[in-house]
Symmetry: C2
């Protein structure tokens, strides 16, 4: 008898499971159920469709060989049945069938199964505030909403846009509004930084500053209290505790929650993080598997369960389920948390834990903040690429990496390599020796990632001691807060000049290559904050001064390259 596999959900994990299963079990009877009319689209592409990078929504539904992934495609090309506009109402685990409703006709029937795969995805979290349901307020939850948003833009109805939520989707939508469509765009984020929990504050500020330069306004640490309507009943204002922002369109991008209602009602084990599965992605019922945004997964670094709603993971999980349905033992051990995002001319990427997250997890964590070149500094397209390697001081294990680079694949090349080593428990020493490919158009002889590890090594061994960027900024704002600090700026005298003018005797300039001759000029009763462009020269000076009996020094990691990207307002000569 043919094996009957019913898959609930037709966007990422569902179709992937269906197609891989069908290839392994050509005789199986496989049905995908989805309550939507559109399935198997590239949801992560929605911001690029809205921005105009992708001209037609159909592009998000096509294969790379230009066939639209609709019911007919799945039936004829894949041998998989799809029932769209069909809602799964319940899973009857005794009778082994799924009760469904045809949303067009209201008719109900049952679909028998041998195995069920739940790929019910996630749903956007809608803030419980007045006006959240007004016309003109959109979540980015499906392709229909994306089409509606683009129609509003295309007919010129959007002069001002407000995005509630500074996560990845919110930021990508903000770029789409501001870039091609020239809308005056604001982002509201309840937490004190954008991309909270994902990246550390200096990287969040670098990103925010870059987006601000491209016209996006940010209001962090401000929650939306209400969305108000105009006379026609359409959303026109977003109210926060501090201000009221006019809006022709409002995007609610306040995160997503796993869609687990059906699993709960079927009596499956469900946590607040999603449907509980084992490493083979089986739920508490061995005949029911689950994958994608609706499940909880394991963080491979902390060992803890967490929620990682990413289309790339959904696809990898779909393959694992397909294997197991076909009797091939296959596991999904968990997630390190790789992430990348384009923002105008920049990109931000991360893998593993941020420094804040690592410390919250109880690691003895520190981070090497650097500003290396993404390729040979003499190559024409070279750019600096601030980078932070998070590590555990005791075990020397690398816990995470953050990169802020140009809008090319340079950051990706380091994030992917780091993700690979982190998943294998890589240490600082592994990263130091990691064989990054080298030619001047692609890297420096000591690759940026190797260099970040070398700095981490120096820090873990106690040879390099850094000042925290935020402490340095606070001192520049109010030098009296650290009365014994003295900035030792080893850059070129022309770079030092404006700072020496502003800070007077708090700022001492001695060029890097003169320190060995002139160090007796440096007062011995002050704590030195050593400053250069990237941190590398500062470290050399720190080591040298220590050998001359001056151990009271701190290095500004990443140097002024990082500071200058933070867009702080007291910047001299501005």
């Amino acid at each position: 008898m043919k094996k009957k596999i019913v898959i609930i959900g037709g966007v990422a994990a569902g179709p992937k499971t269906a197609c891989h299963s069908k290839r392994l079990l050509p005789a199986a009877d496989i049905t995908i159920l989805d309550q939507d009319s559109l399935i198997s689209y590239g949801g992560c592409g929605i911001p690029y469709y809205v921005s105009g990078d992708v001209s037609d929504e159909d592009e998000l539904r096509k294969t790379s060989f230009h066939m639209t992934r609709d019911e007919s495609f799945f039936l004829h090309a894949k041998g998989v049945k799809v029932r769209t506009r069909t809602r799964a109402l319940a899973i009857d685990r005794q009778k082994k069938c799924v009760e469904v409703e045809d949303l067009a006709s209201g008719a109900r029937d049952t679909v028998p199964y041998d195995k069920v795969v739940m790929a019910t995805g996630s749903q956007p979290f809608v803030l419980p505030i007045p006006g959240a349901d007004l016309p003109g307020v959109y979540t980015i939850s499906d392709l229909h909403k994306a089409i509606a948003i683009k129609q509003e833009l295309a007919r010129g109805a959007v002069g001002k846009a407000v995005v509630i939520g500074g996560g990845a989707i919110g930021l990508e939508m903000a770029e789409a509004f501001a870039d091609l469509w020239g809308a005056e765009t604001s982002v509201i984020e309840f937490m004190p930084q954008i991309l909270p929990r994902i990246i550390d504050p200096p990287f969040a500020v670098m990103l925010q500053n870059h987006m601000q330069k491209h016209g996006v306004h940010f209001y962090t640490g401000e929650g939306a209290l209400a969305i108000e309507a105009d006379a026609s009943g359409r959303a026109c204002r977003v109210v926060t505790p501090k201000r009221t922002l006019e809006a022709d369109i409002v995007v609610m991008a306040a995160g997503v929650r796993p869609r687990t209602q059906l699993a709960k009602e079927a009596g499956l084990l469900v946590s607040p993080l999603g449907i509980v599965v084992n490493s083979r992605l089986q739920t508490s019922d061995p005949d029911i598997f689950a994958a994608g945004d609706c499940i909880e997964t394991t963080n491979l670094i902390t060992g803890r369960k967490f929620f990682a709603p990413l289309g790339s993971l959904a696809n990898r999980q779909g393959r694992v389920i397909g294997d197991n349905l076909a009797g091939i033992h296959s596991t999904f051990p968990g997630v390190v948390g790789s992430f990348i995002m384009k923002a105008f001319e920049s990109c931000i990427g991360t893998t593993g834990l941020s420094l804040e997250a690592a410390r919250a997890e109880g690691f003895d964590a520190d981070a090497s903040l650097t500003a290396p070149s993404d390729r040979a500094h003499f190559f024409p397209t070279e750019a600096k690429m601030p980078m932070q390697l998070v590590f555990d001081r005791k075990s020397r294990r690398v816990l995470g990496l953050q990169v802020f680079g140009a809008a090319n694949d340079a950051a990706l090349a380091r994030i992917n390599a780091a993700a690979a080593l982190i998943s294998k428990g890589g240490t600082i020493d592994d990263f130091s020796l990691l064989e990054m490919a080298y030619a001047p158009p692609f890297a420096t002889a000591i690759d940026a990632l190797n260099a970040a590890a070398n700095v981490a090594d120096n820090m873990a061994c106690g040879r390099q001691r850094n000042v925290a960027v935020q402490d340095f900024l606070a001192w520049m704002d109010a030098p009296a807060s650290q009365p014994d600090w003295l900035a030792l700026d080893v850059r070129h005298p022309k770079e030092v000049e404006p700072f020496a003018e502003k800070f007077g005797n708090l700022w001492l300039g001695i060029p890097y290559n003169e320190v060995r001759g002139r160090f007796p000029e440096i007062p011995r009763d002050r704590k030195l904050i050593i400053i250069c462009d990237a941190g590398t020269r500062s470290y050399e000076v720190q080591v040298f001064l220590e050998s001359e009996g001056m151990p009271e020094t701190l290095v500004l990691g990443g140097g002024f390259n990082v500071i200058s990207r933070l867009g702080v307002e007291w910047w001299p000569k501005k």
Copy 2:
């Protein structure tokens, strides 16, 4: 007493060792000896200096903060003494001193040491052919020669250039001559393919074809027999067994050999692959270390010794020696062999073993040849990126990766991740689940590298059976050689048309999404070669046909995307 460290060689490993040692041992007395007047330059940047991407040779000698790395810089900024134009004549291990000669004055003296670091590098292999020493014949061995070549180009003296050797340096020089300077450029390679031993034939041909389209001529399988002079005594022709090529300039880029004479004469253990060192990079004399192009190293995949002359490795090794000189136990375990190279609008990268090398080493090796997208196929800058993952069928260990991509960092992002996992003994399954960062501007939801691993999985499990590209090409050239073969082309009818016209009843077109309905049309007495654009649809069809009792099929891995890059001459409608 101050520790006296003498470093012989001032380009990559030498200066790195010197500077890292000095930071760890600030009191040490460190001297670099070099017979050249120019030191610490970016030798890998020479082709970009010749091409004009780098305007001034001084750029190759500068730090990222624009200081020239000369004797004064090392002394004042680094605290390291440099003696240029000073040749190390001998190492007296009894008296613990290095005998040196000042090349300007001819004066000799001795430099005492506690530890010596040999960073003597490599020297170009000069073919023992008549005319190899004529004026106008250059090796790419130091910055002086690069300056001389650029001067010849700049004064318009180079209309025709001949490069002897199709390795990385030869190809980079060929691009430099042909691209900016418009010279008619030919590359002669003795082996049957360019980049021999580094990449497999299909990738070598893709690269060669791309460079041919940009005007470079190639003569593979042809050795240079002689270089002939004009009346003025200057090189003007290169003679091979098959032709005579006119040349205003000849570059001899036939590989490099480790420079080990000094080590041999000092009685150190030396193999044909270089100075023998342990994992701490100590030679057979524990007071003498060695690093860079002059040493033999261990291949981490095969366990065998080999020669890996790369500036990036030299720098990593320098750090390891510095650690050990300072009493920090640090090791350099070996090399997986990461490599990347730009060529006009393309780039080629590899890490680990090629398929040929893996088989020669006795692995039960196979390779998944694919043609995935480097980013979401709906993203405007998307490009196909042929890729080959080499694996061992029995152990499922991944042995290597080759990528041919656009001239951006997309290939790098996959090479680096693969190098990281290969160095940790990663399997096909590790690669399948490797958490490559995903957003549409940077990757596909199932990253190209994950997809390559999925195909490898299908092959290792026997579900996917491929035809070798060269066998398919041979059949297209002479169909009678395989009289029972039939091409089953599942692409769009318009794509199929010219092939059906040319090949008649050897070529059957059934669109991918019609195969499930029309498979009874397919003759059952023929061996089917299933063809699409990338290989993925072909695999689905192979699995389906097998389930219908037709197991005699082979997939063309990488599909016509790869075939079309091979530039074969019988291409229809050309």
